[in-house]
């Protein structure tokens, strides 16, 4: 079990939080929508499966690159792939 940080890759405002604490997430699932300075809506996705341990931001929060959005308890189970 690893604790994975999900950080913002963008400068912008959290438009929508698509997950809740203690729910399972799957690789490349969109977790947050961030509206950048140009008004473009950008999804935050990570190559991590696991459980959301805590959310560190709310909708409307300003974020900068590197700011922690959530912590995820990562499962290092190799996902089935053929």
């Amino acid at each position: 079990m690893f604790e994975e940080l999900i950080t913002s890759p963008y400068n912008g405002v959290v438009q929508q939080v698509l997950v809740q604490e203690s729910i399972r997430i799957y690789e490349w699932e969109p977790l947050f929508l961030i509206r950048d300075e140009h008004g473009e809506l950008l999804p935050v996705k990570v190559g991590v499966s696991g459980e959301i341990q805590s959310l560190e931001v709310q909708e409307g929060d300003k974020v900068i690159p590197g700011m922690v959005l959530a912590y995820v308890k990562e499962e290092l189970v190799v996902s089935a792939c053929d």
Binding site: L5, I6, T7, S8, P9, W28, L42, P43, V44, K45, V46, G47, E56, D61, K62, I64, G66, M67, V68, C81
Partner: protein, 709 residues
């Protein structure tokens, strides 16, 4: 009870307020009494101390001035001439006391010292009174003489210092109390208050008061002791807190590598024992009182969590990177004051340089191993395809010829055919035989992937839409199959909205990853396959017509196995040989067994044949697998009604008829067990079945017996 002598009372000199104007002058120097009284309608309302600093030595003053100095009479005690003990404690708080007569009206007053002198004079009570006073006060008293020896004390005092009279009396005061303070009081004549004396036995608060004679000479001193048992507890608590602090520090340092406390201006005011080495260019000791915001401006690290907490006024977690390349996860927590302003910011940090590096490495390794796995798969596939493709029928020969041509030209191919006819094998053959054989062959089962994932699987994700090491995004199948072949299996299952996107890719030869607006060129040969009737789906509107025509550039229809009987034996031998090799066995199929296989309609086509052979091998006891054994595994009864037997070589008609008749009767008997039922299934009389079956059985017996010799 004490009685007061009436003759000692001072007279009440009073001025009636109603008789005076504010600016009337009154010559107070003429008044001998130190206190005069104000009255209204014959009642005393206040008094004035004429010997006070404000009034003493003044000749005449206005009535107004007098009034301003008057003190309400309510503050003064009125007592009868006979007074009880507790009252004494009340009256000594005030500079004067009014004495009432028997009727309750004031008859005179006494100054405090006069009252006390009166009381002490009453011999028999005097000593008692003094004692009562000393013992009633919940304070310890130690009287020290000019030689600084303790000459008197009360019980309370002894209790507080946990000692006895014998141990204390006539002993130097400094043996118990603070020598320096005692000396100081004697030298200066000043009172020293609230001195805490803390030893193992006691926790007390001390006042050192000088006793001075008329000529200001220090005659001795009074040491007043107050018990503060709580101070011992407090001391213990402080000790506990100290220990707790150490524990907390230890605990925190295992969770965080560094803790900082910053004030509202962003200045460092405290830091933990452990700090993250290599993050700070300077010694944190030198940073005390300096602003951490400045360091961000100087470029020592970025971003500053202090600044972010100050801006957002709430907890912020952020990854900071130092100039040195150290990466730190910093969590800043604001602490607010009563007004809701930030008072302090606590910053807990963890060094994640190593973790980040390991994670990057892990991701890199994952990528590499995925690549190897894919390469291995293609090797396996190549090997399989060419050995595996078995055929003898003219229909398949024609198809293989077509396959070779298609392979040369990279055209889009649509393979149709029932389930299990070998659509995938043909698709692989197209890849293997063509110029793209050293480039990837990727298969995507459009029916097996959830609809919401299909799009991203096909077209990939936008670059940069991800954090961490996945900033590269993810390539879709089209991108991964670049230069090679993409096999879209079960194309009939593709949802309509993706059909549009697929059509676009086929037309433009480029893909737009999900979340991107930039198209990327791809060069992929598309082979689609389906066991559905796409034309029908087009009519029903579940498959786009334009896409159908796009895919249907080269249609390849693989006929069902029952329409290419010549392939059955080669396939059967091929599968049997594979199993023999695998299990080191030597099973073989007798010619009549092959006949039965060729006779069957194979609704599941090649896949069914492959499965049946495996079941035969697993269940057979005999090396020779014959017709009888084989027919047990095929649901022939059902098929007789459906499929017609197909004769593939020319035989004398009679012989063929007899052969068919025999096979039919044997099968019917096997399936229905009684001649009556078999006759019904065959549509002939029971007697005819019975007769012919007898004949077959007996002739087989003789054959077997003959083969014994």
């Amino acid at each position: 009870m004490f009685t007061i002598d009436e003759n000692k009372l001072n007279p009440l000199v009073s001025i009636a307020v109603e008789d005076q104007e504010e600016d009337n002058f009154i010559d107070i120097s003429a008044i001998k009494e130190p206190f005069i009284f104000m009255s209204e309608k014959g009642k005393l309302i206040s008094y004035v101390h004429l010997k006070s600093n404000r009034l003493a030595h003044k000749g005449k003053v206005t009535f107004q001035t007098l009034l301003s100095q008057s003190i309400p009479i309510e503050q003064v005690y009125h007592v009868n001439k006979i007074i009880s003990l507790p009252v004494i404690f009340q009256v000594i708080g005030e500079p004067l006391t009014i004495i009432n007569d028997e009727t309750g009206s004031p008859s005179g007053y006494l100054k405090r010292e006069e009252l006390l002198a009166e009381l002490f004079k009453q011999e028999e009570h005097g000593v008692n009174l003094f004692k009562t006073l000393l013992t009633s006060i919940p304070m310890g008293m130690f009287v020290v003489d000019r030689e600084k020896k303790i000459i008197n004390c009360n019980d309370a005092g002894l209790k507080m210092i946990k000692s006895t009279a014998e141990k204390v009396m006539n002993k130097p005061a400094e043996s118990i109390f603070d020598r320096e303070l005692i000396e100081s009081v004697f030298a200066t004549g000043k009172t020293i208050l609230n001195q805490v004396q803390l030893t193992d036995e006691m926790g007390v608060l001390l006042d050192y008061c000088p006793i001075s004679a008329q000529d200001q000479k220090i005659e001795g001193m009074l040491i007043v002791v107050q018990d503060i048992p709580t101070i011992e507890d407090m001391a213990m608590e402080i000790e506990d807190i100290k220990n707790l602090n150490t524990d907390l520090n230890a605990i925190l340092s295992t969770i965080y590598d560094e803790l900082l406390v910053v004030n509202s201006k962003g200045e460092l005011i405290r830091y933990s024992e452990n700090v993250i080495s290599g993050f700070w260019d300077t010694d944190l000791k030198d940073m005390i009182g300096k602003s951490l915001l400045e360091l961000e401006k100087k470029g020592m690290f970025s971003p500053s969590v202090t600044r972010l907490v100050m801006e957002k006024k709430k907890k912020v977690s952020v990854v900071q990177e130092a100039r040195s390349g150290r990466k730190v996860l910093a969590v800043g927590n604001p602490v607010f004051n009563d007004k809701g302003e930030i008072d302090r910011i606590i910053i807990a940090s963890r060094d994640i340089t190593e973790t980040s590096r390991l994670k990057d490495e892990l991701k890199e390794m994952k990528k590499i191993s995925e690549k190897y796995k894919k390469e291995l798969d293609t090797f396996k596939n190549q090997d399989r395809t060419l050995k595996k493709l078995m055929y003898r029928s003219p229909k398949m020969e024609k198809i293989i010829l077509q396959v070779k041509k298609i392979a040369e030209f990279s055209s889009t191919v649509l393979i149709t055919g029932e389930s299990g006819v070998g659509k995938e094998v043909i698709a692989q053959a197209i890849h293997q035989l063509g110029r793209r054989s050293d480039k990837p062959f990727l298969k995507l089962n459009c029916g097996a992937i959830p609809e919401n994932l299909l799009e991203s699987e096909l077209f990939g994700y936008k670059k940069g839409a991800f954090t961490g090491a996945d900033k590269e995004g993810k390539d879709g199948y089209f991108k991964m199959a670049d230069q090679g072949v993409l096999f879209l299996d079960e194309i009939g299952e593709m949802p309509l909205h993706l059909q549009v996107k697929l059509l676009r890719v086929l037309q433009e030869q480029e893909v737009i990853p999900v979340g991107s607006t930039i198209a990327e060129k791809v060069d992929v040969q598309i082979i689609a396959a389906t066991n559905k009737k796409l034309e029908q789906m087009v009519e029903q509107g579940t498959f786009r017509e334009d896409l159908f025509y796009r895919l249907n550039v080269i249609p390849l229809h693989i006929p069902p196995l029952r329409e290419r009987i010549e392939d059955i034996s080669v396939l059967a031998f091929h599968f049997l040989q594979q199993l023999n090799e695998k299990y080191d066995k030597s099973f073989y199929l007798t010619p009549d067994a092959i006949n039965v296989l060729e006779f069957y309609s194979w609704p599941g086509n090649v896949r069914e044949l492959q499965n049946i052979i495996e079941r035969l091998v697993v269940s057979a006891d005999d090396q020779a697998i014959d017709a009888e054994f084989v027919s047990q595994f095929l649901s022939l009864g059902y098929d007789f009604k459906k499929a017609r037997p197909i004769i593939t070589r020319v035989v004398p008609l009679q012989e063929a008829l007899e052969d068919v008749e025999e096979q039919l009767i044997v099968l019917a008997m096997k399936q229905y067990k009684t001649t009556t039922k078999a006759a019904k299934a065959l549509g002939v009389s029971q007697s005819s079945v019975s007769r012919k079956y007898q004949k077959i059985v007996s002739s087989r017996k003789t054959e077997n017996e003959a083969s014994l010799y």
